[in-house]
């Protein structure tokens, strides 16, 4: 009430505005502190792993990055095998998970009947909450044996360069790399491909729930206009929904990728843990996280330092991946001409 207001002495008003300004400053400092904690923990973790790995870096120098040896007996270590394993399994996971998640999200936001949407959406969120060890157990006890008995023989015989009967298939002979990628004479499931598939199952809930949420933000007006012009559901999804939500979708994909890169337990169970570099996706391998989980408790001296150095490399790999994502987004924004 203005009349009342005017009745207040001027110095009280001034005090109040001083107090407000002070509170405002305090609040701003608090917020800044919260944000700085993130930065400090990031730098702290990166710094700690780099410091822990200094012995390894100084002992091997650049060799650490290009050597595929991991030989505790002779104290020689290199990062190529685990770094390759980490990137390969995560890429396979993305290749499988992204199209499937897109399908799930489009179905739930565009196609599914209303009564089905909420239960399926909650089911996806529940899936996202399952601890990774469960996926690991499932991979080891159920999926890897199934893969070894039913899928792997077909892959090695029809695509690989080491088929059982010795006769190369057309694909193995004529398409470059395919023979190498699918050739294997290990008779078991645990491999880079299986780890990628298990990771895909793990990250599908993440990616698809993000996609579903952002697809729902697309204004009905836009979609209905497109339908009115005769677009099919596919055209609406691909030409209206996806471009509208592109940056959020890419954000969701990288959330999934981040999880795949750092996943430890599930991968340790199904990757086979062999410290050998092999071109084949059907051979066992190792990832950075699985190597650390496997060896850290018993490691001493240079081996421990090398594991810390690996942890630092995982930081670097994740950082590079995020950087690429940022650049990609910027490129896309520029193309849109905004």
């Amino acid at each position: 009430m203005p009349a009342n207001h005017a009745a207040l002495p001027i110095d009280i008003l001034e005090q109040r505005s001083h107090r407000d300004a002070r509170h405002e400053r305090l609040f701003r400092w608090l917020l800044k502190g919260c944000a700085l904690i993130v930065l400090a923990s990031l730098l702290g973790a990166a710094g700690a792993t780099l410091w822990g790995g200094r012995e390894a870096f100084s002992a091997f120098g650049w060799h650490f990055l290009v050597s595929s040896a991991w030989d505790p007996g002779n104290d020689v270590y290199g990062a190529v095998v685990p770094v390759y394993g980490t990137i390969a399994t995560s890429l396979i996971a993305l290749l499988i998970a992204v199209p499937i998640s897109f399908g799930i999200a489009i179905y739930l936001s565009e196609v599914a009947p209303a009564w089905l949407r909420t239960p399926v959406a909650s089911a996806i969120e529940l899936l996202a909450g399952i601890p990774s060890i469960i996926y690991g157990m499932w991979g080891l006890f159920v999926f890897a044996p199934f893969f070894a008995n039913h899928i792997k023989p077909w892959l090695t015989n029809n695509l690989g360069d080491k088929p059982d009967d010795g006769k190369l298939s057309w694909a193995a002979e004529h398409v470059p790399f395919v023979g190498k990628l699918f050739g294997s004479d290990y008779p078991f499931g645990a491999s880079i491909l299986v780890a990628g598939i298990v990771l895909a199952v793990m990250i599908i809930p993440f990616i698809s729930s993000v996609m579903r949420e952002v697809f729902q933000t697309v204004p009905t007006r836009l979609k209905e206009s497109a339908y009115a012009l005769g677009s099919s559901t596919w055209e609406v999804s691909w030409d209206i929904v996806l471009p509208y939500t592109r940056s959020a979708v890419i954000g969701g994909i990288f959330l999934g990728l981040g999880r795949a890169l750092g996943e430890t337990m599930a991968v340790t169970f199904v990757l086979g843990n062999a410290m050998h570099l092999s071109a084949s996706l059907l051979d066992p391998g190792a990832s950075i996280a699985s190597t650390i989980a496997n060896q850290f408790s018993e490691a001493t001296g240079l081996q421990k330092s090398s594991l810390m150095a690996l942890a630092f490399l995982l930081f670097v790999v994740t950082f590079v991946v995020l950087l690429i994502a940022r650049l990609m987004l910027r490129q896309l924004a520029r193309k849109e001409g905004r």
Binding site: P72, G73, F141, A148, D185, M275, N294, S297, E298, A299
Partner: protein
């Protein structure tokens, strides 16, 4: 409704008071002494059984963390625990440097296990050199003449051999690779031995459980696990030729024979890895776990309780150990350890 709720509240309050009273009673009992140890996962099952029995008898609690031998040694060096437990003995100079002493506590056997169609436990025989050649990737098929030469009368099917090893650093791997190094010069020079090595071939399973699982899944595989896991998972184990040339079945007696015939007399601080033990009836890959303690403890009270616990374990814990497929130390070794306590430790 109202009265019943009131009643419920009152009874709940009474229950809470009672619970606090009970808890504080136990709290007082628990304050007797809590000792902490950490290290080897190999001894974890028997440690927890012993500590439960010991707590029942004396009221003193043992908190044993199965964090791995390396971590156990690191923690005892920092003095954050009362004793460490390691599957590999510490070197004499390290013990000297930190003022530590060590002694074995229990014995266990490590057995090679196979998955070959039609082959049961105790049917296939190997010697150390051949076993190492398989793990080196030099023998790649079950019908190899070197394997056939050791197995007259058993026809092994042709089939690729898949080696299964531990992916994690472990005392089991330490003792297994130590044995291979002792019997096969090529292994000794190329791969050496340790809790983790660069395996020339094969796939890695996490823990004894992981190796057992892979061996069960993969036809034509060979791996190595602690005896208890081979028994529990009904895996087909291999008979091994020991240092005196006899083919042995893995058994508690054979593990005990290895512990009894190992040359403890000339091993300072029990620094002896007893693989390839000389006894006629000894199982060649027998292992023990060492307890590591300060000779002049920082917390004398805790240290005293720890020794009391170990005494209890060595003298009364045999049954608990054999129930879990460990082997109690033979009596002469126990008296040797007790003499070591008296002469080396201040407590």
């Amino acid at each position: 409704m109202l009265t019943s709720r009131k009643y419920l509240t009152r009874s709940a309050r009474f229950a809470a008071v009672a619970a606090i009273a009970v808890a504080s009673t136990f709290g007082v009992a628990a304050q007797a002494t809590d000792i902490t140890g950490a290290g080897s996962s190999f001894v974890y099952p028997v440690m927890s059984k012993w500590s439960a029995a010991y707590a029942e008898k004396t009221g003193n609690h043992l908190n044993y963390q199965s964090v791995g031998s390396g971590a156990g040694i690191a923690q005892i060096k920092e003095g954050t625990i009362d004793f460490g437990a390691s599957d590999a003995p510490m070197k004499a100079e390290d013990l000297q440097k930190y003022g530590l002493g060590q002694f074995p506590i229990v014995v266990g056997g490590i057995v090679p296990v196979v998955n070959i169609t039609g082959v049961q436990a105790d049917q296939i025989k190997l010697d150390g050199v051949t076993l190492a050649d398989i793990f080196l990737g030099k023998i790649t098929n079950w019908n190899d003449p070197k394997i056939a030469a050791l197995n007259a009368g058993l026809t092994l099917p042709a089939g690729k051999i898949t080696v299964v090893h531990r992916s994690d650093g472990s005392g089991t791997s330490f003792n297994f690779t130590n044995y291979l190094s002792k019997v096969n010069p090529e292994w000794a020079s190329k791969v050496k031995f340790g809790t983790a090595v660069e395996w020339p071939t094969g796939v890695g399973g996490k823990g004894n459980e992981g190796v057992s699982q892979y061996v069960r899944q993969i036809k034509g595989s060979i791996g190595y696990v602690e005896y208890a896991y081979a028994v529990k998972n009904k895996l087909a184990w291999v008979d091994l030729k020991n240092a005196s040339g006899n083919f042995m079945k893995p058994s508690a007696d054979a593990f005990a024979a290895a512990a009894a015939t190992a040359d403890w007399a000339s091993a300072k601080d029990f620094n002896l890895i007893m693989t390839n033990a000389p006894g006629a009836q000894a199982w060649p890959i027998t292992a023990t776990t060492w307890m590591i303690m300060y000779k002049t403890p920082k917390n004398a009270g805790n240290s005293k309780v720890a020794f009391d616990f170990f005494k209890y374990a060595l003298e009364n814990g045999q049954k608990a150990a054999s129930d879990l497929d460990y082997v109690p130390l033979p009596a002469p070794l126990v008296s040797k350890i007790e003499a070591y306590w008296a002469s080396e430790y201040k407590h």
